[in-house]
Symmetry: C2
Subunit: 430 residues, 2 copies
């Protein structure tokens, strides 16, 4: 019977076949040990003369790292074994003897590892990260599904840009001129919110930024919920609920993976509602008092974010940022138009901005004024302005960068490990 | 208390406030009726002099189609009312009186409706379709989550193309030359399958095809599972399991929406395992007997698919197609290299190909031969060939076109209604 390693607990005492790749092997006197990985776990096979077929013992010798093979035999529980089970191997069948595997136990530089990303994904650390990513995505989908949000998949190819014109990838779109790769799905989910009330999109987004930092990707996944009749406060509440939901989910489902990543789980357990909220004004005052050289109207640098977060174990909302710092679609505070009704959610431990959210400008004329100020092509935004003509309502939403959250929860130094195949300024391969 | 219409069943007898948009209104003598939609449902408000505030009666007169407003009052069950509840309106607050709404009860052409897609989404029919799409996506995510598949989000920007070079969108990628928008994530999920065993991707894909049919989009969502150690038979089984799971889910969750779409649900209920399987050879024989002018080696046209499906209420697998018809990565039948170990799953009722799947070529040299035959740039595929060097194993997977499935299940004539913002050869707006 063929089984996956994750199913072994239901097959103790039975003879089963598992198939996969050689992770490690060693010999100790007359006994040989082969650790097989099949993607769901690791299983140590024990080969002893007399118990294993002679051909199995011969084939064991041929196995190189990452060779593919099957082994068959009875399985027993063994707390000392990696994964908690061990197999007494009777038969062993080689599928392919792998060539000399490029990734060895010695230290490799990040460039080499990224060149071999298609293989590096097999390492136990990268394996754990992708499993955590998988759980975070499912937590997000489930959170919105339970709350009756409707998924509105927004287009990648678009004429209406959402952020800044300077960081667009473009492509020829038949005879219609240039199309741009979406920097955000937000403008489109706003249309969705007017149809369904509560919606979200969750897909890849693109920024042709020439940044080379440990936090930047040129292609990344973004979650963008949008809610009719939410104001900026309700928007922050939704963000807090979501982050707590994700954290609870990961702490329930990913203990093995977090241990494999040596993640300090107590830092994650400390993330509980309510998250503190301070205004941008207050943040600037604090930063200046702490000796940082930042003035009102500036965006935060990484050192500012770190300084501000020194006293917090939980994420921090910084709300109502200067209008000049933020995108054209954010609603200006009616009582004070130099700030917009928005928030950034900063992660603890130096992970920076996890979420950016805002109430949207719902007044047609004020929105048009902002589009003109930014010299955006008005005709591409006619449909977006329509949303303010036909039953405009207050509404708010946010964007959560998936890779930032994966990096934070896994405790990673560099965003390149948070996504299966990272796209950065110097990397389009593999 | 503010509530959504979908929550009214928990608030019968209470006074609540609902907010949304005017769907319909009418007066009957001294009584006025306003139907409000909030994205979760429809609620009829009844305004009578003496019960409703005078200002509410005045404001009622100002409401135009799609005007945004709130109404407050006690709610009671009423089986005759749309949605099953009715409100005795005490207060009515106008948020915005909408300008003359472009989409009226009269017939509009598809071009006009697509130009106003951002508003058309609000119609009850489009609303129902998007809710069904939402449920299909969640069913798919849940199916793979339950089966311990790991999500591997594959890149959109890529140097390695998966299908044919003639239908690529391209963009300049910094100093690295051209990047292509992914036609498929398959090559990358194959790398994922060697790391995790069972994986899938589910994201947007792109084809710069100049087709103008009711089945073609230039940007569409594709689900692509990939499983190590699956052969073509196991691959078909997984497809069948998935389609039955989706159908069961939709029939449980979307009765209201399917009724709104006037979908003949008996056709969907007939979709049950097992799905019939015939070889391509057999299909050709049958088509020729039925008088179709098709020869061995040809792909099917829509009339061929329809002819073949005449006798089936369930989807039909057609397996082992001519090698020359299919992509370079499919594994040739070792006993008969003129066919590949693949399948197309054809939908009933003329919906054509829902899924295309195959076992992948796992032999390094045979794969390289195919890459050279197709004059693909070898250096971009070096990583893909590596998967056949370091522990190659039999593996198989498939691609399910989300919009095809949404169109089939909803019973739609044209694929443009299956996705929030369709991208076709003549359309990049809104």
């Amino acid at each position: 019977m063929k089984v996956h390693i994750s199913e072994l607990k239901d097959h103790v005492g039975q003879s089963v076949t598992v198939s996969g790749w050689l992770y490690q092997k060693r010999s100790s006197g007359k006994i040989k040990f082969a650790v097989l990985r099949d993607g769901t776990g690791y299983l140590q096979g024990v080969l002893a003369k007399g118990e294993a077929a002679d051909s199995a013992l011969d084939d064991f010798e041929r196995l190189t790292q990452e060779s593919s093979f099957s082994m068959t035999g009875p399985v027993r529980e063994d707390k000392r074994a990696p994964g908690g089970f061990e197999m007494t191997v009777k038969e062993l069948t080689v599928i392919q003897v792998a060539g000399e595997y490029p990734i060895g136990p010695k230290e490799h530089g990040p460039g080499f590892l990224m060149d071999n990303r298609h293989l590096w994904l097999r390492s136990s650390r990268q394996h754990a990260i992708m499993r955590v990513r998988n759980e975070i995505v499912m937590a997000i989908r489930q959170f919105f599904y339970e709350r009756d949000f409707v998924l509105i998949d927004t287009p990648i190819l678009t004429g209406a840009i959402g952020e800044t014109a300077s960081t667009l990838f473009e492509t020829q779109y038949f005879d219609l001129g240039k199309a741009y790769l979406a920097q955000t799905g937000q403008l489109y989910v706003e249309a969705g919110a007017m149809a369904h009330g509560r919606v979200y999109c969750f897909g890849p987004t693109f920024r042709a930024e020439k940044s080379k930092t440990r936090k930047h990707l040129n292609e990344f996944w973004m979650l963008e919920p949008e809610v009719a009749f939410n104001d900026s406060n309700a928007n922050m509440q939704l963000q807090e609920d979501l982050v707590c939901y994700i954290m609870d989910w990961v702490l329930r489902k990913c203990r093995t993976e977090l241990a494999a990543l040596s993640r300090d789980v107590s830092k994650l357990e400390a993330v509980k509602a309510p998250f503190p909220r301070i205004s941008y004004d207050e943040a600037i005052t604090r930063l200046q008092k702490a000796g940082m050289t930042i003035s009102w109207g500036n965006d935060f640098g990484a050192p500012d974010e770190e300084k501000l977060m020194e006293e917090y174990e939980r994420p921090l909302f910084v709300y109502n940022w200067p209008t000049e710092c933020k995108a054209f679609y954010m609603k200006r505070n009616p009582e004070r138009p130099d700030v917009v009704l928005c928030d950034d959610l900063l992660g603890p431990e130096g992970y920076g901005e996890l979420i950016g959210g805002s109430q949207r400008e719902d007044d047609h004329d004020l929105l048009l004024e902002r589009i003109r100020e930014q010299k955006l092509p008005e005709e591409s935004y006619a449909w977006y302005l329509d949303l303010r003509k036909y039953g405009s309502v207050p509404h708010a939403g946010f964007g959560l960068g998936l890779e930032r959250v994966v990096g934070w929860i896994c405790g990673l130094e560099h965003v390149r490990e948070t996504i299966p195949f990272a796209r950065t300024i110097g990397r389009l391969y593999p």
